[in-house]
């Protein structure tokens, strides 16, 4: 094992403050730029983007066909692009196939569509186990799939980002695109949950 950080451990909050103080003092980092990055991912770029894509795909067959054919350019039609979205591949969940996404090596995630990854996605348990026993892991996370459903796990190891188009739930036939978008959870677009009508 090797590491370059060998000093005694300092509480991470203090460590973060100390580094920020040093970099700001030396004119290397502008705290206003940091604030803007943080605000972008707290307020603007999050799973609502992905939910809009899903709702549109459920209500517009042509859009859906384009989305599955070329994810990157099709989500860009709605304005969704940027860091961690260089090339987006959309995979569709059906009665017979269930897709679930992971990044075992770090936590690669389609930021322009889903924002920054949730804690569970970054959890070493998820990263270690979902590529080896996905049915068991999904079950523990609350998603029991029929034995007849085939599972495909996507481990993001290049700059391609995978995005799951979940199944449209029964009972949603009369809902508008906006109402549908409100139903689509972040976790369903990674493949660890299903969309249900609330």
């Amino acid at each position: 094992m090797s590491t370059d950080v060998t000093a005694d451990r300092i509480p991470i909050k203090l460590r973060t403050e100390a580094l920020e103080q040093l970099l700001v003092e030396r004119g290397l980092v502008d705290p206003n730029v940091m604030d803007a990055f943080i605000k972008t991912y707290e307020k603007d770029v999050g799973p609502l983007n992905g939910a809009k894509v899903v709702a549109k795909a459920w209500t517009d067959a042509e859009f859906k066909a384009r989305l599955l054919e070329n994810g990157t350019t099709t989500v860009a039609e709605l304005g969704f692009k940027g860091p961690q979205g260089e090339h987006i591949v959309v995979v569709e969940n059906t009665e017979s196939v269930h897709n679930v996404v992971v990044c075992t090596l770090c936590s690669c995630y389609p930021w322009p569509l889903l924002g920054l990854p949730p804690t569970w996605y970054k959890d070493p348990v998820y990263r270690a186990r979902v590529v080896k026993e996905p049915r068991a892991v999904l079950g523990e996370m609350g998603l029991s799939l029929p034995e007849s459903t085939e599972i495909t796990v996507w481990d993001s190891s290049s700059e391609v980002r995978f995005f799951v188009l979940p199944q449209r739930p029964a009972g949603s036939e009369d809902l508008s695109e906006d109402e549908l978008a409100a139903l689509v959870s972040r976790d369903s677009m990674v493949g660890v949950a299903e969309v249900v009508v609330s």
Partner: protein, 227 residues
């Protein structure tokens, strides 16, 4: 001079046993659970820039951490430690500076090392991002049987241990991308075709494994024909 720091191996988690119960979903969790996480996130992205590094170098700066630094302070903790590695690699800050400052901020007294003369990597990307347009023909085609090579990369790689030596089928030809193994160390972009390869779970994990398909991306250098 190119210094290749070895990975600790701690990040290559896929297929590892002994990790316990799967995490619980929390649909309402905030983007940053604590304020420092947002600061560490933003500062890490900026540190990559001011160090003259790239995304692959940043990932490798995290993969060099020991298990304590990689895991104990969570995702944004490893980002911060990784960012510090980049800043030290490029002589933006001297080792021990952050520790001394933290001591001074909490009522102690420590001599802070002087700011060194920066030495950023001799490297300039040929384009933004990681995708490149290349002339080279694709060595593999959809439907072809391929083997993930067994490689002992001296430094960074995106070839997981659990796929190495196993045979799968090319499912998708992805855009050409810079090779993380050389890009992380500022040796070369080495842009090449990337393929999503589909593996049968039992090929990877043996006959008693759950039945499913595992798709992952392999760079051309990671692959060989399987007859």
């Amino acid at each position: 001079m190119t210094v290749i720091h070895a990975a600790s191996g701690v990040a290559d988690l896929g297929g590892a046993d002994g990790w316990g119960t799967a995490p619980v979903l929390d649909p309402n969790e905030p983007v940053f659970k604590e304020e420092w996480e947002g600061r560490a996130f933003a500062m890490s992205l900026l540190s990559m820039r001011i160090s003259g590094a790239n995304l692959d170098a940043f990932r490798h700066a995290m993969n060099r951490l020991d298990s304590e630094h990689y895991f104990d302070d969570g995702y944004y903790g490893r980002w911060l430690y990784g960012a510090e590695n980049l800043l030290m690699d490029s002589d933006i800050i001297a080792p021990g500076t952050v520790e001394a400052r933290a001591t001074n901020m909490t009522g102690g007294h420590a001599e802070e090392p002087a700011a060194p003369e920066p030495h950023k990597p001799d490297y300039a990307p040929t384009a933004a991002g990681s995708i490149r347009v290349i002339d080279a023909p694709q060595r593999f085609r959809v439907g072809q049987r391929v083997r993930a090579k067994i490689m002992h990369a001296p430094g960074h790689t995106r070839l997981q241990k659990y796929t190495q030596g196993h045979v799968g089928t090319v499912a998708i030809v992805e855009p050409a991308q810079v090779l993380p193994d050389t890009h992380a160390h500022f040796i070369a972009e080495n842009a090449q075709w990337v393929y999503t390869v589909r593996f049968d779970s039992r090929e990877l994990f043996g006959p008693s494994a759950e039945q499913f398909s595992l798709n992952t991306d392999l760079y051309e250098d990671y692959m060989e024909e399987a007859s």
